[in-house]
Amino acid sequence: MQGSVPRLEIRGLTKTFGGARALNRADLILRPGEVHGLLGSNGSGKSTLIKVLSGFHAPDEGELKIDGRDVALPIPLGRSETHGLSFVHQNLGLLHDATVLENLIAGDHERLRPWWINWRAEAERARALFAEHHLDLAPGDVVADLSPVKRAQLAIVRAADRVREHRAHGAPGVLVLDEPTPFLPQEDVRDLFAMMRRLTASGVAIIFVSHDIDEVMEVTDRCTVLRDGQVIDTFDTATTERTALVEAIVGRAVSVDRRVAALPAAAPAVQVRDLSGDIARDIALSVQPGEILGLTGLIGSGYDEVPSLLSGARRATAGHLTLGGQRLDVATLTPSVAIASRIVFIPADRQRAGIAPDLSLTENATLPLIAGRLALNQRKLRRDTGDLIRRFSVKASSSEQAASELSGGNQQKLVLGKWLQLRPRLVLLDEPTQGIDVGARQEIYDRLLEVCADGGAVICATSEFEQLELIAHRVLIFDRGRIIGELKGKDVTKQAIAEACYKAVETHAAQ
């Protein structure tokens, strides 16, 4: 295939977000009929690259050629199909209440007449398409009734169908599969791979974005690794060792200043046993007073479920929690019981679950203090909130302004203040610094260290390994709902965490 015109060629793609380089002169060449893996950890730039291709981001610099022809960037949003680019994202983009056929033809404006749909002919066409790809799908089935793998197959076949027929110059297209597998069982992933192979046999090229090195090793012809916005290298998969890929993804250690020292051994403040939720299975963990315990893993590994289960925000299927001699049944735990036991939870979805954007800072901050009171002293509440705002260095003009007027970092500091004023015994955090600038992050870390100094226990679930290196005394690594590794003290480094996460994937491939 060497020498032939690449299906897609990216040169020098650069994208900056507020001073931070998300992509730095990235190159990528996609050959006709290949499956090309795109690997990299969180923040490596792979999703930025995909979003430039889909037209969601306008790049600062860079050029794109498809089949040797220049394509002007940015691609107008929604026009990528005319260039033969089609996307399947992790959420698949299917309407669950609609039938397979309705989903298949939804948005197919180029082929369908706007004023009349011949449903019988469309159903015939769909059956032929499914037969061609050996798919067990019926046009009349409702998507909600399909198994997860069939939904994924439908989304992929729809995307492939779009770029096969309606292209201006008739060549097969490019399919971008963005993490389609993390929630699928292993045997179903094989079915998807077989389907991808059949598609490439017809000349379609596939970009396969994944965090899962095994899947990339199994299905791709070549793969490209991104780290910190740069293309590290492109590998021929068949002749590449797994360890070389892991090294490329994780990179060499850049030391950050850890802000926590080793703790003397002590009796645990919090003990969790047999905790199970949607993904998490039989989790047992303990935290000692003054300790920050980090939970992490790859997408879909279940680490992020733990804080919401332990706070009663989501129902656990089983589990119990012991906190200072008090035993709580997590399966029946409600937020009010958790709060009464001085367990607080700072959720990841700040705009929906962290603050009420329309309401004032005072109203947001004082809600947990006022339960059951019949004569609120509004002036005192405002004054207390003013103090809180100062103590947690929330930049605000007044305690009466709406929470929506604050920046993300200041909103998060307000949420932290709202909960930490209760002097909690256990603080649960889910991605506490998502979308927050560096300065506010440091302030949030300061507050968490203060909780520790007071003898509180902290559990922090995050996908940001660097954050854990900075503030976690100990880190538990999750995989497929279970804890599969633990790092302590000086071993808590960004690199060691990443290696442990990727090693997990390796071990269950070997099983």
Partner: protein
């Protein structure tokens, strides 16, 4: 600080200013008929029922739910009160709690269906309201029932202070109670979070289901109270009495949310909005416009109020 700014103060009292301007305008045009104390005392007294219905709907509205059944709760309780009192001779001290109990029961039904079956309250209360109207027509045989005890009328419309029927003072007293509840009790804050930040409230230990149910029960009881006052005002019960109150009440609730405490449903704003709307209609009819002005005015006010509140919140978003 936004709260001390001139525009904010204008927003708060804009409706009051427009109301006074209306009074001045009609007063100049028809000083003899419009600008009389008897005209005003009639307006204040007769629209107390509408004030209470409006106060009733702002409670579930604050919690994020619509109660469209409140007008039919009013009609049913009005009819039940008249029947129990005039036809069955049940003593008044028993009739009143029965009436309020009916309202509370309607609230429980609305709330239970909305919360436990997760159906939108708009649909539930639309259906329940129509069902209640059916009951009203059945028990009242589709006819107006009169002959209500004069004691009830005495305590609603005949007693006057400063020339204004006592019903007006009930409505104002109720507005004060609701104002206190919304501003100075934990329940008021929980109501607010249930409407404006339900997930935040839930995670902070607010029983949002219980709060919504309570809000429906309050609106049911206030609808029932309005029904009793309606019977007392007219001395009879008309099977269609509430039908013409629903839209004005919503218009007043949304218009009221543009003043006093802009952006929030609030009792004093609601009271002002009711009397603003009624003054406008009264003034226009004094000028000789016919009944169609009612629909123009109420319908227009509802749409305009919603537009204004969108404009206000849109301006705040742009200011970010």
């Amino acid at each position: 600080m936004r709260h001390s700014s001139l525009t904010y103060q204008f927003e708060r009292f804009g409706l009051v200013v427009v109301w006074l301007a209306f009074i001045a305008l009609f007063g100049v045009l028809r000083p003899d008929t419009f600008l009389t104390w008897s005209n005003f005392s009639t307006i204040f007294g007769s629209e107390a029922v509408l004030v209470i219905v409006t106060l009733g709907i702002i409670i579930p509205l604050t919690a994020g739910d619509f109660d469209l059944s409140i007008a039919q709760t009013l009609t049913l309780v009005s009819m039940a009160t008249a029947l129990l009192d005039a036809r069955l001779d049940v003593p008044l001290w028993l009739v009143l709690p029965i009436g309020l109990g009916i309202g509370a029961l309607v609230g429980v039904v609305n709330g239970a269906i909305t919360i436990y079956f997760r159906v939108h309250s708009l649909i539930v209360t639309l259906g329940v309201g129509t069902f209640l109207h059916g009951i009203t027509l059945y028990i009242g045989n589709s006819q107006t029932v009169s002959g209500v005890s004069p004691i009830l009328m005495e305590w609603v419309i005949i007693q006057r202070y400063f020339g204004i029927p006592v019903a007006f003072y009930y409505a104002i007293g109720l507005a004060a109670v609701i104002w206190y509840m919304m501003s100075y009790t934990a329940f008021g804050q929980q109501l607010l979070f249930t409407g404006r930040g339900r997930e935040v409230g839930r995670l902070t230990g607010v029983g949002v289901g219980r709060v919504r149910l309570t809000a429906f029960v309050i609106s049911g009881v206030l609808g029932a109270l309005a029904g009793i006052l309606y019977t007392g005002t007219t001395g009879s019960a008309n099977p269609n009495s509430g039908t013409y109150l629903l839209l004005p009440a919503f218009a007043a609730a949304f218009l009221g949310a543009t003043c006093i405490k802009p952006g929030r449903f609030n009792p004093w704003g609601s009271v002002i909005a009711v009397y603003f709307l009624v003054t406008g209609i009264n003034g226009l009819s004094v000028l000789g416009f016919r009944t169609f002005v009612q629909d123009l005015f109420y319908g227009g006010a509802l749409v305009l109020a919603v537009m204004v509140s969108q404009l206000v919140s849109g301006r705040q978003e742009r200011a970010l």
